[in-house]
Every structure is written in structure tokens, then in C-alpha cells.
């Protein structure tokens, strides 16, 4: 049944958006972590989304088409860390500098809101599909 596919599609969407929220939360939580060396600084992580379209495969094997979205990988931001002069900080290096990751909290919050909206859309699709299937099953009942 084709409506059943929507559960898989919406499920893949929810998985991907949840991953996006997870990485954003991680970035926000680590935004203020200081480090004594620019190499040890936390790097912001972002998921890479990729559409799954496996219809060609499905024609050959008579399998159900697998479609939706997947997280193809996570990339780490290559922005240079912010350096601050804090000679009294116990973590400071010999020049008195401490380094913090270059993460914009505003950007991360916007990312979070966008991801949660997309998550909601997926849930609504799922519940619509559920209603339609239920009504189809009740076809012919008085």
C-alpha cells in the first residue's frame, strides 16, 4: 500500500530533523567552552542532508521503493576559534590567550526552530496518513 510508505518517508524526515536538533544542541552547549590551544577547540557540527531516491532499484528487484531523506554525514565547521586575552585564566597559553569556538548562538537557535518546524510537518503528514488508512479500512462499514 502506498499510503504506508508515508510512514517511512515521514520517519526518515523525523530522524534527519532530530539529528539536526541534536547537533545544534551540542553546538549550543559547547559554545562557551574555553581551551588553551586553538587545535583543541570544539568545532561546530552540522548534518548533511541527502534525498534518497531508489526507484530504479525498485523496478529491477520488485522491492518497495525506499525514499525520503537521510543524513549523509556530519561536517565540522572550519571557522577559526575566537581568541581572548585572559592572562589570569588557568587555561591560558604562554601568550595569555584562551580560545573559544566560533559559534553564533542566534544562528543555532534559528536552526533549532527550523528543524522543529520541519519535524512537526512530518508528524502531521504521519497522522494524516493514519487517518486516511483508518478510513479506508472502515470502507463499507455501516
Amino acid at each position: 500500500m502506498s499510503l504506508g510508505n508515508i510512514f517511512e518517508i515521514a520517519g526518515s524526515g523525523m530522524r534527519a530533523e532530530a539529528k539536526r536538533m541534536e547537533t545544534s544542541a551540542g553546538n549550543l552547549a559547547n559554545a562557551g567552552v574555553e581551551s588553551g590551544s586553538p587545535d583543541d577547540v570544539y568545532k561546530a557540527q552540522y548534518p548533511i542532508f541527502k534525498a534518497v531516491q531508489d526507484k530504479a532499484n525498485h523496478f529491477m528487484n520488485n522491492d518497495k521503493p525506499i525514499s525520503g531523506v537521510e543524513v549523509a554525514g556530519i561536517y565540522e565547521s572550519e571557522e577559526d576559534p575566537i581568541q581572548r586575552y585572559e592572562p589570569h585564566n588557568p587555561l591560558a597559553d604562554e601568550n595569555g590567550l584562551v580560545y573559544t569556538p566560533n559559534i553564533s548562538t542566534v544562528e543555532e537557535m534559528a536552526n533549532m526552530i527550523s528543524a522543529s518546524r520541519a519535524y512537526q510537518v512530518n508528524i502531521e503528514m504521519m497522522s494524516t496518513a493514519k487517518q486516511l488508512i483508518q478510513r479506508t479500512l472502515q470502507l463499507g462499514e455501516q
Binding site: G68, L132, R135, L139
Partner: protein
């Protein structure tokens, strides 16, 4: 009496609506995928194709591919009203509206089928 003919266009319409719901769901789940282009099924053409078996290729061997089985030949790219910076052309509002509209039309077809079944049941009982 042929039951397929009795149920008429709505039984076929349900099938096309299902496929379309699928395609719209794929669009919506890819709302943030870079370079993803929104696609949709041309409902009118797909329904006409479903209604006329003469337009379908004959598949009489197991290794024949039934191209018309899921209307994938009717899937077309949507004309985007705007394109995001990452090349994505999914318009969340349009897709949500189309999905809701499609679901409603599906329910309408279901109601028509339901009343046909009820008519048939009344005739069978002869009350």
C-alpha cells in the same frame, strides 16, 4: 456486473491520490535538503492513464517492467516560485496545502465509494 466498472472512477482516483500523497510526502521530508527539486504527479494525466487500459503496455512475462504501475512516468518537476540559496525548490506552504487538499480529495473519493457500497448492500438485502 463487473465490480470494477461499478466502482468507476473513484476506485482509480484513490490509487492516484495515494501515489500523489507519497510524492508530496517525499517533497516535505526533503524541505531542508540542498539541491533537492520539488516534484509532483500530474493528477489529470495520471488518472486518464489509469482509466484507459489501452494506453498501457502489455506485461506478459515476469521480467517485463510495468512502467504504468505507479505513475512514475507522470512525475514532473514543479515550477519553483523561488529557489533557496542551497538550490532547494521545496515551498513548505505550497506542499503542505497540496498535501491537505490531496488528503481531502482522497476522503471525498472514499465517501463516494462508501455510498456505492451502501447502495449495493440495500439492493442485495431487498428491504
Amino acid at each position: 456486473m463487473d465490480l470494477d466498472n461499478y466502482f468507476g472512477i473513484h476506485a482509480k482516483a484513490l490509487h492516484v491520490r495515494e501515489q500523489r500523497a507519497d510524492q508530496l510526502a517525499i517533497n516535505l521530508s526533503n524541505v531542508d535538503t540542498p539541491n533537492y527539486k520539488a516534484k509532483d504527479i500530474d493528477f489529470k494525466t495520471a488518472l486518464r492513464q489509469a482509466l484507459s487500459p489501452t494506453e498501457q503496455m502489455v506485461t506478459d512475462a515476469p521480467n517485463h517492467i510495468n512502467a504504468q504501475a505507479d505513475f512514475s512516468t507522470q512525475i514532473k518537476y514543479r515550477h519553483p516560485s523561488h529557489e533557496a540559496m542551497d538550490g532547494n525548490t521545496v515551498d513548505k506552504e505550497i506542499e503542505t496545502a497540496e498535501f491537505a487538499h490531496n488528503a481531502l480529495s482522497y476522503q471525498a473519493s472514499l465517501s463516494f465509494l462508501n455510498s456505492k457500497i451502501r447502495t449495493m448492500m440495500t439492493a442485495l438485502r431487498g428491504e
